[in-house]
Amino acid sequence: MTRISKLTELKKLMRGMEYSMGLEDLTTVERDIYCAASELAASSEGAETVHMLEHVLVTNVSRPTFFRALKSLVNKGYLSNRDEACRGCYTVHKPYA
């Protein structure tokens, strides 16, 4: 194991602890979008932006806030673009599990 990967393992360990303690750094909007995406992904292959926008948890969120939060969720590794062809399709990742 390289020196960098040792540091990565330590960081992963601490992120896991952070998540278990409910200290993960998601805003309320990010959490709502993640919950909506998780629910949508449970019934189909992934979650699509159009369906997320219609979800009851997200309907009150303005579009700019929604897209900012969506981008943040992708950056944090909670969501990822499913494929190049479908830009609004996301795969939901279980955080630190």
Binding site: T2, R3, K6, E9, L13, G16, S20, D25
Partner: protein, 186 residues
């Protein structure tokens, strides 16, 4: 593994970092935690610290490096014994205690792995921190029994060492969690 990673320089750095952090944890425990402990719990006369941070360093080093932690931590643990007990460090009981301190953590990690519980760090999965806490507790239990036996301490110290080790590991992980968290936000 690439050649530079296997170099002596790399091993040297590993020793320097692991032993350095261990000594820092020892210094913090004896110079900051224990004086506060004496003020807060004046009736507690045992030599044991109720927040023994070096145990956390030992556990995390053994988890990350496996048997290599023996070499990485040996200088730090030896110097810690010198710092705490002076030149008594060459007495057979002290040398036995050093050997136990160095060997128990990687030994228990290896034993739990051989028993089918693989909590070693791996690239494709998230580490299980409660599992590390449990193994840390087992290491503390085995270590404190063996070390107290080697040093001939009182029975009450067994529990004090156990409590100190458990909270030492937990609080070290908590401190590291907040350090990583603040670095991420910086």
């Amino acid at each position: 593994m690439s050649e530079p990673e296997e170099s002596w320089f790399s091993y040297g750095k590993e020793i320097f970092i692991a032993s350095g952090i261990y000594l820092l944890a020892i210094f913090l425990t004896f110079e900051a935690v224990m004086p506060v402990q004496r003020i807060l719990i004046p009736d507690f006369t045992s030599f044991a610290s109720l927040l023994f941070l070096p145990h956390g360093v030992r556990i995390l080093t053994a988890w990350l490096l496996g048997w290599r932690s023996v070499i990485a931590l040996f200088p730090g643990i030896f110097l810690a014994f010198v710092y705490v007990g002076g030149m008594n460090v060459f007495e057979p009981s002290r040398l036995t205690a050093i050997a136990i301190t160095v060997l128990v953590a990687p030994g228990i990690f290896q034993a739990v792995y051989l028993l089918g519980w693989d909590i070693r760090p791996q690239a494709d999965r998230m580490p299980c921190w409660p599992c590390i806490m449990v193994v840390g507790l087992i290491i503390s239990l085995v270590g404190s029994v063996l070390i107290n036996f080697a040093l001939g301490s009182e029975t009450a110290s067994y529990f004090a060492y156990l409590i100190g080790d458990f909270f030492g590991l937990f609080f070290l992980m908590l401190i590291m969690m907040f350090i990583f968290r603040s670095l991420r936000r910086a």
